[in-house]
Amino acid sequence: MSTVETHSRLRTFIGDWRQNIIYIGFAVIFLVFALTLNDKGFLNPNNLLNIVRQTAMIAVMAIAMTFVLSAGEIDLSVGAVAGLATVTVAMAISVAGPVGGVIAGLATGIAVGCFNGWLTTRIGIPSFLTTLAMMGIAKGVAMWLSDTAAVPILSPGYSWLFGGGSIGPIPVLLFWMLILGALGHVVLRRTGFGRRVLATGGGEQAARFSGIDTAQIKFRVLVLSSTAAAIAGMLYAGRLQSGRFQLGEGDELSVIAAAVLGGTSLFGGKGTVIGTIVGAMMIGLINNGLILMGLEFSQQLIARGGIIILAVALSQKKA
């Protein structure tokens, strides 16, 4: 690459600073925390890896949410589906071992996704309502199945692979996040399916008139999202060696925030998986920094909300 080209690329990057606010924001917040919280161990590798451990599940769900939002839909049920998956996985492992557990977990996600997709595309209920209802249903089923108690997982192999283990100092969760992230990025950017997703959200009528089966695309992104939520649930279950309906509760908001922070449009047609992952990391970074600062939980909530509003406001074209 010639220097001229590098120079012009740099200029575009700075010129489109609103587009890239997530990366700039991430760097700025990281620097601020590094300078102010160094004595509290912010830069300690263990602390940084902890951020990864805490945000991997959010990131996994947010990768799929990027597809859902890009297609002009939304999935509010991801947190509850993750919780339900922790329970079905744990119960299946106790009966059928780890492989059966994995199958049960994936089946949970696919079944919920098909139901969401069917209601949204065939019956015509907006995905906002479909998945809002599913949020309650999934949680209810998880409570009923587990009798609201934790279901222990007694398979060290499963727990190692799904979230508990590490290779050297690197937690397995980081690999999950990076592998699924790379996969999501390639599918959204480089495949016909990804193009169809973006077209469906960018202009549904134009996409339909161009021969794209927009109902099928919406169905698929909703299945994708629930499946990713189930995988996140399997990671929660592995990390905590148990299935509990409370796991993942409220995650949907962090997941949507991560995608939107990363530059994905709530109105469809625009999204990047890399941005989403950085967005998820940024949320984890903020949480971590605020805890290290010694803020109370109430203060953390307020500060976190303020930072997210600021970042999204800066990324809007009409300031």
Binding site: T191, F193, A199, G203, A207, R208
Partner: protein, 525 residues
């Protein structure tokens, strides 16, 4: 008697460099129906929008009943006593008819709450005066097009205005309802209301209007009593002499090949009705007709977007079922749709992303998009259509209207269709790009494609097409060769003259089709 209700003097309106109106004056008397006529882009809508305060005139003054309007806003115009129906339906679908009619002017109870019962009673009275049957309690979203139009009219009438503007109020109305509307307008007239009436239906104008003003290309042409304006003269003034752009597109004769698309008694949900026509390889077939004549419904049906309820479609002699757009694309049919911004392009996406939307499988290998093939396809079309864009990666929204339309056409040419359908391909496009698109359409036909084109600009149809089908009320009324609209006696006149005469004949054919349909409907009743 000749009290002047509205006097618009030397009104000009410029949009950037575009002069939509140039020193137009309009006087409307109290107690008359004043027809406002003109072709597409003549400036009818612009002057009405100036009158009702949506546009601020660049120069000129407006007086209503002798009072000069100092402020130009919808509120000021309404306060001055001007009421108008909106052609592009301004109704809220989730509210009832009565709630829509009295929107922002709701009847109140003694305690200041909205009184829906009172609004319903008043709305029922309005419809009773009109003599039409619309349920004030029905949700607007559940109404058919005709009932919606009546609701729009009731909304305008309910304001007891001094000046009532009706912009194409009858496009979706049944003949009997038009009769009742006219009877009502006559009683309003007697009460001294000034009525400005816009319509493309000359027979209606002849029945209801006292005087007419004709605009062309943003200028005033003539104002005269209807008695001095027989239909032929009106059309002559409306058409005028074309001096710009189109006439220099050479209209060579095309050789017609085998039949590509045959429609046999095709009907849709509402329109079209029982349409049979054949489209041949190498020809440009035009669909002429007014708003609501069913032209767009017909092409949407052929493109697999709207469902077919009766009849059959044959492609290259084989019967096909076109259930979704994909079926039509596979059959070699491409539609450049009417609404460019919502149906044609995805404005925020790049030129390249838009261009490959219909050939995604073609530029992909095992599901992966091959960027070099995307570049090939895009660059080929950009070059072929001379699309002016900074790069293939720029968002389509940054392009001019004409270039956006070229992107839509390019997207469809990339599918290498046998049949290209264009619905109003030059709407909102500058005259230079228009001529370019017409030329392109003719060139494509010459390479062996079959072209079906809809345009409300008749001069365009006449320049582009070898054959024209006139539609009215959902039916194909007349199928004529373009040559039949030329008079051999005029062969020596220059091209612009001949085009003008042909346009007048086509106008008359469209009006005849309308009259014939209305007569048929009367008999049916």
């Amino acid at each position: 008697m000749t009290q002047i209700a509205v006097r618009m003097t030397d009104i000009s309106k410029h949009f950037g460099g575009v002069r939509a109106l140039e020193n137009v004056s309009l006087e409307v008397y109290a107690g008359e129906v004043h027809a406002l006529l003109g072709g597409n882009g003549a400036g009818k809508s612009t002057i009405l929008k100036v009158l009702n305060g949506v546009h601020v005139p660049t120069t000129g003054t407006i007086e209503v009943a002798g009072q000069k309007l100092d402020v130009h806003s919808p509120e000021a115009s309404r306060a001055a006593g001007i009421a108008m129906n909106y052609q592009e339906m301004s109704l809220v679908p989730t509210l009832t008819v009565a709630q829509n009619v009295f929107l922002t002017r709701e009847a109140k109870t003694g305690r200041g709450f909205i009184n829906d019962a009172e609004a319903e009673r008043k709305t029922a009275e309005l419809f009773a005066t009109l003599g039409v049957d619309v349920n004030p309690r029905a949700l607007v979203g559940d109404l058919g097009a005709g009932q919606k139009q009546l609701t729009e009219i009731a909304k305008a009438i309910s304001q007891d205005a001094r000046v009532l503007v009706l912009d194409e109020p009858s496009t979706a109305l049944a003949v009997s309802d038009v009769d009742r509307l006219f009877a009502f307008l006559r009683t309003l007239k007697e009460k001294g209301t000034a009525i400005i009436y816009v319509s493309h239906r000359m027979d209606e104008i002849a029945r209801i209007a006292d005087r007419a003003t004709i605009l062309r290309d943003g200028r005033h042409v003539i104002t005269a009593p209807l008695s001095e304006l027989p239909i032929e003269t009106m059309i002559e003034h409306i058409v005028g002499r074309r001096s710009l752009g189109l006439a220099d597109v050479e209209r060579g004769d095309t050789t017609r090949g085998e039949a590509l698309v045959e429609l046999r008694g095709v009907s849709g949900r509402d329109k079209p009705v029982d349409v049979s026509l054949t489209l041949y390889r190498g020809e440009v077939l035009g669909l002429a007709g007014l708003l609501g004549s069913g032209r767009s419904s017909l092409v949407r049906l052929i493109a697999g977007i709207d469902p077919m309820t009766a009849g059959s479609i044959l492609i290259r002699g084989e019967p096909v079922r076109l259930r979704k757009p994909g079926d039509a694309i596979r059959a070699g049919i491409a539609l450049v749709p009417e609404a460019r911004a919502t149906q044609g392009i995805i404005p925020a996406h790049s030129v390249a992303s838009n261009m490959i939307l219909s050939v995604l499988d073609g530029v992909s290998q095992r599901g992966f998009v091959d960027e070099s093939r995307v570049r090939d396809v895009t660059d080929t079309q950009i070059k072929r259509l001379s699309v002016k864009t900074a790069s293939r990666d720029h968002a389509v929204s940054t392009l001019s209207g004409g270039n956006q339309q070229k992107v839509v056409i390019g997207k469809w040419l990339a599918t290498d269709p046998d049949v290209l359908i264009l619905d109003e391909p030059t709407a909102g496009i500058d005259i230079g790009s228009k001529a370019e698109i017409i030329r392109l359409v003719r060139d494509l036909a010459a390479t062996g494609k079959a072209i079906l084109m809809i345009s409300s600009e008749l001069s365009e149809l006449l320049t582009a097409c070898g054959r024209i089908v006139v539609m009215a009320d959902g039916r194909a009324h007349q199928d004529m060769l373009r040559g039949a609209l030329d008079d051999p006696a005029e062969a020596d006149n220059d091209i612009a003259d001949r085009l003008q005469m042909a346009e007048q004949r086509l106008q008359i054919a469209i009006q005849d089709a309308l009259t014939a349909r209305e007569e048929a409907n009367h008999e049916y009743r």
